[in-house]
């Protein structure tokens, strides 16, 4: 398949994600302007980051001028999942995707783009990935711009309803795996309970919201990695290695 055709195929595959991002980033645009950013600042945050949860947590840190280290830690922990996706994605790239091209496509690793990319049967080529990133990227940017612009004009009823959109999307991401895997479900419940404690328990509520998310996620992740490690994928390889060690 030619590069052009691969790009177009990727672009079209990305359209459903683009539409989903439009509504979610619309809500982000409203949120960002409501938090105190100007319209163009809100758009720049979306263009430079393309990450819902990270942006949602990052804007209050920006506006509140909290220490930069808190921004670093918050973005690190919240976006840590992307590194896992990047690792997984790197195994699926065609040998033709060289380092510079890897550096380009890395920009567009998001939950949904990753999920779609990894579900492809064949090895991934650069033009396909660039296409797959392009349509959601524009959805994300245009949605933010519209939200930032329309936030003032829209009736408060609509703004209020859209405020829930990002959280509804998070729910939609965590529930299906939690339904299939009890450890994931309990890990989520623990993180929620901890997060609620950081909001309502007297001394704990002094901790800033960004830091609270880090603590909740790292504590839950560490505990469940210890008590419910994910199954080994290469069982055979391990046993043969065990045998080799024994003999």
């Amino acid at each position: 398949m030619t590069s052009r055709k691969l790009f177009i195929r990727g672009f079209l595959d990305g359209i459903p994600i683009c539409l989903g991002y439009l509504s979610v980033s619309f809500a982000f645009g409203i949120f960002a302007v409501g938090s105190g950013l100007s319209i163009w600042q809100s758009i720049l945050v979306s263009v430079a980051n393309v990450t819902s949860a990270g942006q949602l947590a990052g804007v209050p840190i920006m506006v509140g001028r909290l220490p930069l280290i808190e921004m670093v830690l918050t973005q690190f922990v919240i976006n840590l999942r992307y590194s896992l996706m990047s690792v997984s994605l790197s195994q699926k790239l065609s040998p033709r995707v060289k380092i510079l091209q890897r550096m380009v496509v890395a920009f567009g690793v998001t939950d949904e783009i990753f999920a779609l990319a990894i579900s492809q049967k064949e090895e991934l080529e650069t033009p396909y990935l660039v296409g797959l990133i392009t349509s959601p990227f524009w959805g994300w940017t245009i949605g933010t711009a519209l939200g930032a612009l329309a936030g003032d004009i829209l009736p408060s009823l609509i703004v209020s309803a859209l405020g829930l959109a990002l959280y509804a999307m998070f729910v939609a991401i965590i529930i299906p795996p939690a339904k299939k895997n009890r450890a994931v479900a309990f890990c989520c419940l623990l993180a929620m309970a901890l997060s609620a404690a950081f909001r309502y328990v007297p001394v704990m509520n002094k901790v800033s919201s960004g830091m609270a998310i880090i603590i909740c996620a790292v504590a839950s992740g560490l505990l469940f990695a210890a008590v419910a490690p994910i199954p080994e994928e290469e069982e055979k390889k391990d046993t043969s290695m065990d045998k080799a060690v024994k003999t």
Binding site: P16, G20, S23, G36, S38, Q41, A48, N49, T51, G54, M62, L68, M71, V72, Q75, F76, N79, L80, R81, Y82, S83, L84, S86, S90, Q91, R102, M103, F107, L157, I158, A161, L162, L164, A165, Y167, A168, M169, F170, V171, A172, I174, I175, P177, K179, A183, C187, C188, L190, M192, S195, A196, A217, V218, S220, G221, L222, A225, P229, I230, E232
Partner: protein, 105 residues
């Protein structure tokens, strides 16, 4: 927000986010060996999203009641494994309906 301060924060924010995505893709072509680390990386995304959602979702709309209704619909639609867009729209529509009712009462 003041422009120079904004760009400082934006640079840090976007820089960290990009490096997290880029470094593993460029450097690590081997599979991660540590089962503990892989398990940790597996659970963290779900824990992050859970912690971000609860309790913040309760304060994301005009009324607590509408937020709870929206959350309930989002959970129901997700359990039914509906698409992301469907879940988001369904939950927002619920908030809209509940708040309209509250305002008319």
């Amino acid at each position: 927000m003041q422009t120079d301060v904004f760009f400082l924060y934006l640079l840090v924010m976007a820089g960290v986010t990009y490096l997290i995505r880029m470094l593993p893709l460029v450097l690590c072509r081997e599979k991660i060996q540590s089962r503990f680390l892989r398990s940790f990386l597996y659970y963290v995304p779900y824990a992050v999203l859970s912690a971000m959602t609860i309790p913040a979702i309760f304060y994301s709309t005009g009324y607590l009641v509408s937020a709870i209704a929206g959350l309930a619909v989002a959970v129901a639609l997700s359990l039914w494994e509906k698409k992301l867009l469907t879940v988001a729209c369904g939950a927002c529509a619920t908030v809209l309906i509940v708040e309209s009712i509250i305002k008319f009462i």
